[in-house]
Symmetry: C2
Subunit: 152 residues, 2 copies
């Protein structure tokens, strides 16, 4: 990217902009509510207080243009290896098509590697075929089936 984009931890003030990005999506549009709903702030507070969880925003010219959540999962498998799970990746409509998503995932992978994680993992809805090519081009293997059971 030729433009200057910086990454930082989200603050409570970023929550409405993050929710707007979550909702501005073919799948997300159906399941989000008022960006100022207090449940979003409560979820943010829990992530912010957890040393193994990071809500990240990408910022350009003072504007939030991307987001992703990185969760560092403990587990006994693979000699107790830590894994980094990426969730809720979004790039603002105004910033798409300029490599920001690639920069975000590469930044997350570098961060996980520096932390000593053995693996980075994520799931992507089967309808998001463009995203699948994108993750494949970044070295991810589509090695697993992702199962979901909705309880709501």
């Amino acid at each position: 990217m030729s433009e200057t984009v910086s990454f930082r931890h989200a603050t409570a003030a970023d929550v409405p902009a993050i929710v707007a990005m979550l909702a501005d999506d073919p799948l997300g549009a159906r399941r989000e509510g008022d960006p100022h709903d207090e449940r979003y702030l409560a979820a943010f507070a829990r992530i912010d207080a957890d040393p193994h969880d990071e809500l990240i925003v990408a910022e350009r010219d003072g504007e939030v243009v991307g987001t992703m959540q990185l969760t560092y999962l403990a587990g006994l498998s693979r000699l107790g290896a830590e894994r980094c799970q990426i969730e809720a990746v979004r790039v603002a409509a105004s910033a798409r098509g300029r490599g920001l998503g690639r920069g975000m995932i590469q930044w997350a992978v570098d961060r996980a590697r520096a932390r000593g994680c053995a693996m980075v993992q994520l799931t992507s809805d089967k309808s998001r075929t463009d995203a699948h090519r994108f993750y494949g081009s970044l070295g991810f293997a589509a090695s697993h089936e992702g199962f979901k059971l909705s309880l709501s």
Copy 2:
């Protein structure tokens, strides 16, 4: 199940038995080490100290015959809904074919529902086709591609 199986949080004393189950598996055999390796105990300690993480064992006649890890993930998506992620599901070879795995997953789903989770999610290696039929029979939808990037 006609036999009496109970579920409880794992203790440090269970770690070698859990690691032995992780290793007694076509995929796990290649990636586990000495069950008494201190890295397993360190990972256990982190899970045990985290109020959003549970390492569960199934016990029958005083013997550990199954294990799974339940992690309660925070996130802004879906109005800040909590999700339950299931990882590292194993049934001891001596206890297979008697419905224990089904009982474990149903127990996990009930626990997630009682907690108010909006979703239960897991991934399963694409080679585990029996497991995929099993999760489908429990109501899970294979709706996502699961991507992994190994860093080790």
